[in-house]
């Protein structure tokens, strides 16, 4: 089976966020990029599907130069090939534009399944996989914690509020991964060496037939301004022995904060 994995390069979750001078983005100076955490589960699931059913795995990453390292890392983990989707016009894309670009890159590849993370860390949209599914005109299952694929169909267990849903559907499909789907493996030394020699394919707007069609100018959701959340007012440590402190706390929760 042919498996595509969409991975996003995102700032390390430890990053102390500061805003750029124009307040349209964060300041990327010195920021270290990592594979978006949920995409690691998508990569692992692709490897497992290949182990079980045979076939071919390809990683797609839309982004700037930061994409190279995460694509190399995906290759080191064992994916067969990698495509870096990059164009000067692909900056500050909204989720729909991102999905359009990924759909254009994936559509003609003859894939049976596209694996994504259920949420890209940082932008925190949780939208791209469903939008991609619609644009490819495939069915979808999101926030998946268990996946079985057999003879042209899939069975996915997805996490919803207070329950799990079993979704059954046909392939090709878009599946987005939630933690719990698997245990991502680390790249082996051999994998890292092999990945170094592999070519990362490049695709730009012209190659995708998207020149002048997708970009920050065409996006219909635009960031006006970024702000830092207001600092929380200085908290209070309640002193005293356990008994005194607990009584004081209950009093404060009741009369000051009015939450109990």
């Amino acid at each position: 089976m042919k498996i595509a994995v969409c991975i996003k390069a995102v700032p390390d979750t430890e990053t102390k966020i500061q805003l750029a001078a124009d307040r349209q983005n964060i300041d990327f100076t010195g920021v270290r990029f990592i594979t978006s955490p949920y995409d690691e589960f998508a990569i692992e699931e692709a490897l497992k599907l290949k182990e079980k059913h045979g076939g071919e795995t390809t990683a797609f990453c839309l982004g700037g130069p930061e994409a190279t390292d995460v694509l190399r890392d995906a290759l080191a983990r064992g994916l067969d090939s990698a495509v870096h989707v990059c164009d000067a016009s692909f900056v500050q894309l909204d989720p729909l534009s991102t999905a359009k670009v990924l759909a254009a890159a994936i559509a003609d590849g003859g894939f049976d399944i596209v694996l994504c993370g259920h949420q890209g860390s940082g932008t925190d949209n949780s939208l791209v996989p469903s939008m991609l599914a619609e644009l490819l005109d495939w069915p979808q299952a999101n926030i998946v914690v268990k996946l079985e694929v057999e003879g042209g169909s899939f069975k996915a267990e997805r996490e919803i509020e207070g329950a799990h849903e079993i979704v059954q559907g046909s392939l090709p499909a878009v599946i987005s991964a939630q933690k719990g789907l698997n245990e991502p493996r680390y790249p082996s030394i051999k994998g890292v060496m092999a990945a170094r020699r592999k070519e990362i394919a490049q695709k730009d707007a012209a190659a995708l037939g998207l020149a002048g069609k997708v970009g920050s100018a065409q996006a219909t959701m635009k960031i006006k301004e970024m702000t830092m959340p207001a600092d929380r007012p200085q908290g209070r440590i309640i002193d005293g022995d356990v008994d005194t402190a607990v009584k004081a706390l209950v009093q404060l929760l009741r009369s000051e904060a009015q939450v109990v």
Partner: protein, 326 residues
């Protein structure tokens, strides 16, 4: 804002989701009665009786797609319903609650209409007849104000952030049948299993008691569960204890878990790592119980007690129980 707001109201097993009614309430505030239309749309099987509850939020009309084909959720079938409603009403905005279903459905439908979607919206700001959407970025470390330049835009609203305003009594909103046949359904829910143990759903809970490595071991969950029971709270957890296998991932709060905004968040034996704070720092009141006075969680807490969770929590439970019985 011409053409008003269409709100997808989510129901499961004949229960309307409270967060959907919050989204509907916000739509009503942004589109005042008599000035702009607010239309609710609801899909399912044998759900006509739910219109009474929905009416309390005073939508101008309720569109009901009641059909055996909608008994269980399917993205494609529900997207057909929402699309039919959009074509009929031609709204300026489409809202839903930011739930698993809300995001799944609105993202898919937005792409169908080549329209933008903003998820997990925390605040709406009127702006020259349009709405700006404020959403958290980098797990709440900063925020973005977004504008939409298309004639139609979709948004999912974070639960527990927008006030629910239900009228005690009032008129039933007019109901219209929405007859839709979903012809291309290639994936659908076959079964639903209720998650074990959780009595109150985390992302919608107004009180959360969360445990971290400081609770020492999974055998001590009952200590926290007792506190949950007195407060009607949901049980949350740090990633450290989820990774240790002490509790299911469904309970994890933080960057790679759930984002929550309860009225009260009680962090028990949680250090307050940046990834944990990311998921809960928008809680109204944060209480931290930790034996280390230097733990970073205290910098973010409204109230803190330096002490052993296993001593403090039972005392707190007892004290609150007394309060309840008075």
């Amino acid at each position: 804002m011409s053409n008003g707001i269409l709100v997808f109201v989510e129901q499961r097993n004949g229960q309307v989701r409270k967060s959907s009614l919050e989204a509907l309430s916000e739509a009503r505030r942004q589109a005042p009665m008599g000035k702009e239309l607010v239309i609710a749309v609801i899909a399912g099987e044998n759900i006509k009786s739910l219109a009474a509850r929905v009416s309390k939020v005073k939508p101008d009309r309720i569109l009901v797609a009641d059909n055996a084909g909608f008994g269980k959720y399917s993205t494609e079938a529900y997207a057909a319903v929402l699309s039919a409603a959009i074509k009929k009403e031609n709204p300026r905005y489409v809202f839903a609650a930011n739930t698993a279903m809300g995001k799944d459905l609105l993202a898919r439908t937005a792409a169908k209409f080549d329209a933008p979607c903003a998820s997990d919206v925390l605040e709406l700001r009127p702006d020259n007849g349009n709405l700006l959407a404020v959403r958290a970025l980098y797990s709440g470390k900063c925020r973005g104000v977004f504008e939409f330049t298309s004639p139609l835009a979709f948004m999912t609203l974070r639960p527990n952030v927008f006030a629910l305003s239900e009228a005690e009594n009032g008129q039933q909103s007019p109901i219209e049948d929405l007859s839709v046949t979903a012809d291309k359904v290639r994936a659908a829910v076959a079964e639903t299993h209720a998650a074990e143990g959780q009595k109150v759903e985390l992302s919608e809970a107004s009180v959360i008691v969360a445990g971290g490595r400081g609770i020492k071991g999974p055998e001590n969950w009952p200590v926290l569960q007792n506190l949950c029971d007195v407060l009607g709270a949901a049980l949350g957890a740090s990633r450290a204890v989820v990774d240790s296998g002490w509790i299911d991932h469904g309970h994890q709060v933080g960057q790679t878990g759930k984002t929550v905004s309860p009225q009260l968040y009680i962090a028990c034996g949680i250090s307050g790592a940046i990834q944990h704070l990311a998921g809960m720092s928008s809680s109204k009141v944060i209480v931290a119980i930790n034996k280390d006075a230097e733990a970073p969680i205290f910098k973010h807490a409204t109230y803190g007690i330096v002490g052993d969770v296993l001593e403090v929590v039972p005392r707190l439970t007892e004290e609150l129980r007394k309060l309840n019985s008075n």
